[in-house]
Amino acid sequence: VAKTSLTSPPWPEVKLPDPVEEAKYHAEVVRKVNGLISAGQYGRLFAVVHFASKQWKITSEDLIMMDNVLEAECGDRIRMEKVLLVGADDFTLVGRPLLGKDLVRVEATVIEKTESWPKVNVRFWRRHNFQRKKIIANPQTVLRINTIEIYPCLS
């Protein structure tokens, strides 16, 4: 059969590797990463955490502000679950969709609970003599991420 421009797809053909070799390669990679974690050879860790209906990329010692009220008082330590991703300089651990609680530990402290700046909510209809003015100040909480730790128990 003659070869036309539509016989083969326009993207380059990819050959998948052998599943046995693939499994061996995966096991080797997991062993190496486990070795690195247990030896403690990672610098800063960053994590992607789902908190207050938003996903944040956090490292240690950084500030985060929520637009809601948490039930913890100022100065309480909070442990964040729902960790989606953890990474360091050489490796990353991706969860599907969450990582286990015995793998990662993210701790944060509540620093302050203030209100936002006073926002003005004005409703106006022209030619109808309708004006309403309302000042809204949402409560906010500020957290500081203390530590992110991982424990060597991969599988």
Partner: protein
């Protein structure tokens, strides 16, 4: 490792004014409870006799900002809520903040620039270029 940002709370009111009734009730009943619940805040009560300025709750923070809140014609529960709110604030200005997060080290694995994850010219096998 948590330091409360409120230094002291000064309650300025006059005992004879009519609109300082809530402040007087607060001083009689709730001031001791408040002081015990927040042991690292100093509460000063300074009544000035005779007609003076309006009753004011003044909060001073560790970075020097002073915030005044009027307590005229407020009940003592509202004053308690106000005081707790001020106690959990820090002395930064309440203006619009642009970003709800702040990091000192934003990138760990190196910041992305358009040349990451691209093969370099030295390894491309084209019709004319030879790998060196």
């Amino acid at each position: 490792r948590y330091v409360r940002q409120l230094q002291r709370l000064q309650l300025l009111f006059s005992p004879t004014a009519a609109d300082a009734r809530g402040a007087r009730e607060f001083v009689e009943e709730a001031a001791q409870d408040f002081a015990r619940q927040h042991p690292d805040v100093v509460l000063y009560v300074s009544p000035h006799a005779g007609p003076g300025p309006a009753p004011v709750l003044r909060a001073e923070y560790l970075n020097g900002t002073v915030r005044d809140e009027l307590i005229a014609s407020k009940t003592s529960e509202e004053i308690v809520q106000l005081a707790t709110k001020l106690a959990s604030q820090s002395g930064l200005d309440i203006i619009r903040i642009r970003k709800p997060f702040h990091t000192d080290n934003p990138s760990i694995q190196g910041q992305w620039h358009p040349l990451t994850n691209k093969p370099s010219i030295l390894t491309v096998q084209g019709p004319r270029l030879q790998p060196q």
